[in-house]
C-alpha cells in the first residue's frame, strides 16, 4: 500500500484515501471538431505505459477532494514527487523519449 504525499494537505497519507485517475498532463484539444478521428482517438484512448518514470494523476477522494499529480517509478512504486495541477514535474525521464 502506497504512502502518498498530498501537496494540498501537506501530509503523507495512506493510499486508501486516494483514487488513481490515470495519466497526467493530457490536455484536451481546444477545438475537438477540427481533429480527425485518428487524432481524436489518440487523445481519447492512447496512454503511456512506461517502465520507470510515470507522471500520473491522483484524487484525494476522502481527504481534500483535490486532484494532483505524482511522479512514480512503475518498477519500484517509489513516488518521487507530488505537485499541484498547473505545475511541471521536477523529475523526468529526460532523453528516454517518455
Amino acid at each position: 500500500m502506497l504512502l502518498i504525499h498530498c501537496p494540498h494537505c501537506g501530509e503523507g497519507r495512506e493510499e486508501e484515501e486516494f483514487s488513481y485517475s490515470g495519466e497526467a498532463h493530457i490536455v484536451r484539444p481546444l477545438a475537438p471538431q477540427d481533429l480527425n478521428d485518428r487524432e481524436w482517438g489518440d487523445y481519447l484512448f492512447f496512454r503511456k505505459n512506461p517502465r520507470g518514470i510515470h507522471h500520473e494523476m491522483w484524487y484525494h477522494a476522502v481527504g481534500c477532494r483535490r486532484y494532483f499529480y505524482a511522479t512514480r517509478d512503475t518498477l519500484s512504486y517509489e513516488i518521487l514527487e507530488t505537485y499541484i495541477v498547473g505545475e511541471k514535474p521536477q523529475v523526468t525521464s529526460a532523453g528516454s523519449g517518455q
Binding site: M1, L2, L3, E14, S19, S21, R28, A31, P32, Q33, L35, D37, W40, G41, L44, F45, M57, Y59, A61, R65, R66, Y67, S76, Y77, E78, I79, V85, G86
Partner: protein, 1005 residues
C-alpha cells in the same frame, strides 16, 4: 508407555505440569512449554502425515515455520483450523489434533498403493493426466483433494472475533533472536519508537535452544535480561506470537498477532487474532536462517530430521526424538547436535562428514567426547518403513559428486542432517529485492531494495553469534538515526560470547547413490509436494529451462511451507542438470504470506453489518413499519415493494402500478444524488458537462440532461434545476452520485480551473416524497396553499418554493412515471412528518406507497431508460433513441460531443434501444437474455442483442421489455427470439420503446 523420549529437563519446558491432548483420537500427554511437535516426539509418534502424491508415511522434520510434513487440523466444529504446522502449535489442555492427510489413518493408508505407482506419477502428472476432457476436471479435482487431504475448512460461521490495528513506528524489528533483540535495544535507547515482533511464543530465537554462554551466563538467562530491559522502555512494543507475514510498498508491513490460539481453539474472551498494519520509517529484518536438508535416497522416512531441530528438541523442549543417532553434515556447525545428543545420554552411532578432513574447534570438541567421526563420507540412503532402521553410508570423492568406496550399513533410528544454512530472505524478497548468491555461505543473501530496510544476523548471511551481535548494535543505531533518533553511534557494548571457530562448509545439494538419480530410490527435495531430484532432472529433459517454469511444472515450493527447506537444493539440482551455475539459474521469488494467514484476521471487524455502511432515508423506519421489502442500491436501503398480507411480490407490484396510473402513488426518492452547483460560471460549466444546453434555462425551470464521458457514451442522467442565476441543483442517479461529483471536480480542477464554480453534495440534506398519479394535484392541494398548482401556473418541468403541511418545501413537477407527479423536497429532518401528511392527504384517493420495483415497471412502460441497466457504458444518446437530448448547436464542444461523430459512433448496426413485446403476452423475458434473429441456427448462435429490462405490466395486461438490438431502430415489427436458460425459446416483436401514452399527455395535465 507415555513420553518415552522425554528427558529430565528442557530449557523452556516445565515437566511438572502435564498437559493432555489427543492426536488422531489417541490420548497423549505433554508438558507445559511443549509444542504439539515436541509432545508428539516425546511420545514416540513416528508417522504424522502422508505425503501429497505418493502417500508415503512422513514424520516431523523441523521445529518451526519450515516444517513440511507435520501439517495438522486443530480442533473441531466451527473453530477448527486446517493446515497448521505442529511445530508452531503451542500445546494446551484438551488440544485435538489430526493429520490432514492419510485415510483411513496415517498408519494404514489405502492411498499408499499409489506409492507403488510412483514411477507412473512423474512431474507434470496432473497437467498430463487430468487436462482433458475439461468437463471431468471437477471429478478429478474432487478425487485429488480427497486423496491429498489439504485439511478441511469449517463450514459454520467463525465464532471468534478479530480486529485490526493501524500502527506507525520509527523502527520495526522483525525477529527477536539475538540480532533483533540487540538492534531493538539500541534503537530504543536512541529514542526511536520500536515495534519488535517474533512468530514464536517467546523471544530469543535460536538462543532458546542454545548451549552457548553469553557474558558468562546461560543464553536463555541473557535473553531474559535483554527482554526485561526492552520492556522497561516506554517507546518499545514487544509482540510475541506475531508473524510479520508480508512486506508491502513504502514500508508497509502486515503482522498477524495470535492472542489466544495457545489457550484453545476459540477465544473464551476477547479477540483471537489481531492484524497490525504497520507503516514503519525503518525496518530491520532479523529473521534468521533455515538449516538446509541433505538430499539422499529415501530421506523422507520418519526419523530423518534437521540437525538443528534435533538440538532444539533436546535442549529447549527436553525431548530426544530417537535412541540411535547418525549425524550427517557438510559443516562444523552441526557437530553441536552431536555434542547435545551425547550430553542427553543417548547413543551416537557416528558423525558422517562429507568433507575429507574436518578439523574445526567443534569437531575437535566432539572427538574429545569420544564421538566417532567418519570423514569424507555420506549417507546415501535411509532404510526403514515407518521409521528409519539404518543408514547406508559410503565414501565420497572430494566434491561429494561420486561414491568411491563400499557401502556400509549403520543401524540407527534417527538421521540428523545439515547441509548448511539458507538465510530466511522471504520478507526481503517481498520488497522486490533480487536475492544474491554468495559462494562463501553457500546460499542466497537478501538483495538490494528500494525500501528503508536492512537485514542483520543470519538472514543477512552472518552466522557467528559474536558477528551477529556486533552487526546488530550498529544496525539498530543507524536505523534509529535514519528515522530521526540518535546520532547513529552504538551505545551498548557487544556482549562477550563463548564461541568456536568454524572451518568452511562443503556445498552438497544432492548426495550420489550407487544407482543413477533416475534409478535410485526417490531422493526428496520438497517433502510436502513429493518433488524428487529425479523429477527435476526429468523436467529438464522434457525441455524446461526457467526456474519459474520448473517450479510450476514440478510443484516444487508450492506447498503451505513455500519450500522453505527444499528450494535451494532444488535450484542447485536444476542448475546442475542445466549445466550452469546457481546464480545463472536464479531463484524463485517468495511472495506474501510468509506463513498462512487467517481470513478472519484479514477481514477483522469488517464483516456482517459492519462490512459496508448502510444508508437509510429519513422515512426508512416508516417503510419498515409498513412491512416493506428492501433492496440494496449502492449503500442505500431502498424500499423495493410493500406487500400486503398474503401478497406475492408480483401481486404487490401489479397493485402498486395500477394504483399510480389510476389514482395516486407515493415513492421515497430521497436517495437520488443531489449536487448544489454555484459560482459565476456555473451555467457555462453545467452546459459543458451535459449534452444539452442550460445557458437559457430560467430560474424556476428544470431540464432533463444526459452526461457523457469523453468517448460519447452515456455516463449518468437526471434533472437539473436552475435555482437562481448561476445556481443549479443537479440530480444524479442513486448509484452514480459520488462518481458524478468526482467527475465534475476533475474537469473543473484539471481542465478548466479558470471557471469559477463550486460543488457541494446535498444528497443527505433533503428528503424527497414523490406523489404520482392523476390525483396528485388534488392531494397536494390539501396540504399546500401557497403554490399555484394550476396546470398553467405550475407547469411540467417547473419547480416552486412553497409550504407543504407547514414546512418550507421545494416542489418539482417532474415525472419518472409519465403521470402527473410532484416531487416534494423538505429538509431531511422533516422527511417523515411530511411523508405522513401526504399519506393523510392522499387517503381519500387510496394513496399507495410503491417501491423501486414498481418505479422500474412504470418507467419501462414509458420507455425511460435507467443508466447502468439499459446502458452499459457503450451506448450513445442516439443508440438510446435520445437524439433530442443532444444540443447540436452549443458553441462549446461539450464533454463527449466530438466522439458522437466518430466513425464507430455513427456506424450502422450499432445496438439500439427498442421495445420487445412477447408474442404470447403472458411470457416474461429474462433480463440479460440474448436476442437472435434465427432460432433454428446451430449453437453457438449469432447474438444480435440482449434484453436490458423486462417486466409484466399490469396496466397493459402483457409483458414488456426493453432491449438493445443491432440496427434495432430500423427493425420495427420484426420478430426476434430469445433462447432461455431452461431451453425455451421466446418469440417477441420489436416495437417502439414507449409502451404507454406515447404522446406523453398524461404528465402534462
Amino acid at each position: 508407555m507415555s513420553q518415552i523420549n522425554r528427558l529430565p529437563t528442557g530449557a523452556c519446558t516445565d515437566s511438572s505440569t502435564i498437559i493432555n491432548f489427543t492426536f488422531n483420537g489417541k490420548q497423549l500427554q505433554g508438558v507445559a512449554g511443549d509444542t504439539l511437535a515436541s509432545a508428539l516426539l516425546a511420545n514416540g509418534v513416528n508417522v504424522v502425515g502422508r505425503s501429497f502424491k505418493y502417500s508415503r508415511p512422513r514424520g516431523i522434520v523441523g521445529h518451526g515455520a519450515e516444517e513440511p510434513n507435520a501439517i495438522m487440523q486443530i480442533g473441531s466444529g466451527a473453530a477448527t483450523v486446517p493446515n497448521l504446522k505442529a511445530t508452531q502449535v503451542e500445546l494446551y489442555e484438551g488440544l485435538e489434533a489430526a493429520s490432514v492427510n492419510g485415510w483411513p489413518s496415517v498408519n494404514f493408508d489405502l492411498m499408499s498403493i499409489t506409492g507403488w505407482f510412483g514411477r507412473l506419477m512423474p512431474p507434470g502428472f496432473y497437467y498430463k493426466t487430468f487436462m482433458y476432457p475439461a468437463k471431468l476436471w471437477m471429478t478429478y479435482e474432487h478425487f485429488i483433494r480427497k486423496a491429498a487431504g489439504l485439511g478441511s475448512a469449517p463450514v459454520q460461521e467463525d465464532p471468534d472475533s478479530y480486529d485490526k490495528l493501524n500502527q506507525h513506528c520509527d523502527l520495526l524489528v522483525v525477529g527477536a533472536g539475538p540480532a533483533g533483540l540487540v538492534a531493538a535495544r539500541e534503537a530504543a535507547r536512541a529514542g526511536a519508537r520500536v515495534i519488535i515482533a517474533d512468530e514464536q511464543s517467546e523471544f530469543g530465537g535460536s538462543l532458546l535452544a542454545s548451549t552457548q554462554r553469553i557474558e558468562g551466563q546461560a543464553a536463555t538467562a541473557w535473553v531474559a535480561e535483554l527482554v526485561a530491559g526492552l520492556n522497561a522502555f516506554s517507546n518499545v512494543q514487544t509482540l510475541p506470537r506475531s508473524t510479520v507475514f508480508g512486506y508491502y510498498d513504502h514500508n508497509f508491513l502486515g503482522i498477524l498477532e495470535r492472542r489466544t490460539d495457545h489457550l484453545g481453539i476459540s477465544a473464551k474472551l476477547g479477540v483471537r487474532q489481531r492484524l497490525h498494519r504497520v507503516r514503519a520509517k525503518q525496518v530491520i529484518l532479523a529473521t534468521g536462517a533455515f538449516e538446509r536438508p541433505l538430499v539422499f535416497a529415501h530421506n523422507d522416512i520418519p526419523g530423518v530430521m534437521q540437525a538443528s531441530s534435533v538440538s532444539t528438541y533436546v535442549n529447549r523442549y527436553g525431548v530426544a526424538p530417537g535412541n540411535r543417532l547418525v549425524l550427517f553434515t557438510t559443516n562444523d556447525n552441526a557437530y553441536q547436535t552431536a555434542i547435545d545428543w551425547h550430553r542427553a545420554g543417548r547413543t551416537l552411532v557416528a558423525v558422517i562428514d562429507s568433507r575429507g578432513a574436518p578439523e574445526g574447534e567443534l569437531v575437535t570438541a566432539a572427538k574429545k567426547l569420544g564421538i566417532d567421526v567418519m570423514a569424507g563420507c555420506g549417507v546415501i540412503e535411509a532404510q526403514g518403513g515407518k521409521r528409519v532402521k539404518r543408514a547406508l553410508v559410503a565414501r565420497l570423492n572430494h566434491d561429494g559428486s561420486q561414491i568411491v568406496g563400499a557401502v556400509q550399513k549403520l543401524d540407527c533410528d534417527l538421521i540428523a542432517c545439515s547441509g548448511g544454512w539458507s538465510p530466511a530472505i522471504h520478507l526481503s524478497s517481498h520488497t522486490g529485492a533480487k536475492p544474491v548468491w554468495d559462494e562463501q555461505i553457500v546460499g542466497f543473501k537478501p538483495g538490494e531494495s528500494t525500501q528503508q530496510e536492512r537485514s542483520v544476523g543470519a538472514c543477512g548471511g552472518t552466522y557467528a553469534l559474536s558477528a551477529c551481535l556486533a552487526e546488530a548494535v550498529l544496525a539498530g543505531a543507524e536505523a534509529a538515526k535514519l528515522a530521526g533518533c540518535g546520532d547513529g553511534n552504538a551505545h551498548f557494548p557487544v556482549s562477550e560470547v563463548e564461541e568456536y571457530q568454524e572451518q568452511p562448509q562443503q556445498a552438497l545439494f544432492l548426495v550420489p547413490h550407487t544407482k543413477s538419480t533416475s534409478r535410485a530410490p526417490s531422493q526428496f527435495v520438497d517433502m510436502q509436494l513429493d518433488v524428487s531430484a529425479s523429477g527435476i532432472e526429468l523436467a529438464v529433459r522434457e525441455g524446461f529451462e526457467s526456474v519459474e517454469h520448473i517450479k510450476r511444472y514440478t510443484a516444487m515450493g508450492f506447498g503451505t511451507d513455500q519450500g522453505k527447506l527444499g528450494n535451494i537444493n532444488g535450484m542447485a539440482i536444476l542448475a546442475n542438470a542445466l549445466g550452469q551455475s546457481i546464480p545463472e539459474t536464479g531463484t524463485t521469488i517468495f511472495r506474501p504470506s510468509y506463513t498462512p494467514t487467517t481470513f478472519g484476521a484479514i477481514a477483522g471487524r469488517d464483516i456482517g453489518a459492519l462490512f459496508d455502511p448502510e444508508r437509510y432515508t429519513p422515512v426508512h423506519r416508516w417503510h419498515e413499519e409498513q412491512g416493506a421489502e428492501f433492496e440494496d442500491v449502492g449503500q442505500w436501503k431502498r424500499s423495493w415493494y410493500f406487500p400486503r398480507s398474503g401478497e406475492s411480490m408480483d401481486d404487490a407490484v401489479n397493485r402498486e402500478c395500477l394504483a399510480v396510473r389510476n389514482s395516486l402513488g407515493i415513492l421515497d426518492a430521497s436517495t437520488l444524488g443531489k449536487i448544489d452547483i454555484q459560482g459565476p460560471d456555473a451555467a457555462e460549466f453545467v452546459t459543458r458537462m451535459y449534452s444539452n444546453s442550460y445557458l437559457k434555462l430560467a430560474p424556476g425551470k428544470c431540464r432533463y440532461g444526459v452526461m457523457l464521458k469523453e468517448d460519447g457514451m452515456i455516463f449518468d442522467d437526471g434533472v437539473c434545476a436552475c435555482l437562481a442565476d448561476n445556481h443549479y441543483l443537479m440530480f444524479t442517479t442513486t448509484g452514480g452520485a459520488a462518481g458524478v461529483l468526482a467527475w465534475l471536480e476533475l474537469w473543473q480542477q484539471t481542465e478548466w480551473p479558470d471557471l469559477k464554480v463550486y460543488f457541494t453534495s446535498v444528497t443527505d440534506h433533503w428528503s424527497t416524497a414523490t406523489i404520482s398519479g392523476p390525483n396528485a394535484r388534488k392531494a397536494l392541494a390539501k396540504v399546500c396553499d401557497d403554490i399555484d398548482l394550476s396546470s398553467d401556473g405550475f407547469q411540467f418541468m417547473d419547480w416552486r418554493d412553497g409550504t407543504v403541511a407547514g414546512v418550507k418545501a421545494r416542489v418539482f413537477r417532474i415525472s419518472f412515471t409519465g403521470e402527473l407527479s410532484y416531487e416534494v423536497n423538505v429538509p431531511a429532518q422533516y422527511g417523515r412528518p411530511i411523508w405522513e401528511a401526504l399519506m393523510a392527504a392522499g387517503e381519500e384517493f387510496d394513496i399507495t406507497p410503491y417501491g423501486t420495483e414498481s418505479m422500474h415497471v412504470l418507467r419501462a412502460e414509458k420507455g425511460f431508460i435507467i443508466v447502468g441497466q439499459d446502458t452499459d457504458g457503450s451506448m450513445t444518446p442516439a443508440d438510446m433513441n435520445m437524439d433530442w437530448v443532444v444540443g447540436k448547436n452549443k458553441s462549446f464542444s461539450f464533454v463527449g460531443k466530438r466522439s458522437l461523430e466518430r466513425s464507430d459512433s455513427v456506424r450502422e448496426n450499432r445496438k439500439q434501444l427498442v421495445g420487445l413485446k412477447t408474442i404470447e403476452g403472458a411470457q416474461v423475458l429474462t433480463e440479460g437474455a440474448q436476442v437472435v434473429f434465427d432460432a433454428q441456427q446451430k449453437i453457438p448462435m449469432s447474438m444480435q442483442g440482449h434484453v436490458t429490462s423486462s417486466y409484466f405490466s399490469s396496466n397493459l395486461g402483457h409483458s414488456i421489455a426493453l432491449a438493445v438490438v443491432k440496427g434495432g431502430h430500423s427493425r420495427m415489427g420484426q420478430v426476434v427470439y430469445c433462447p432461455m436458460a431452461d431451453g425455451r425459446i421466446i418469440a417477441a416483436e420489436i416495437v417502439d420503446s414507449v409502451f404507454y401514452d406515447a404522446k406523453g399527455e398524461r404528465q402534462h395535465v
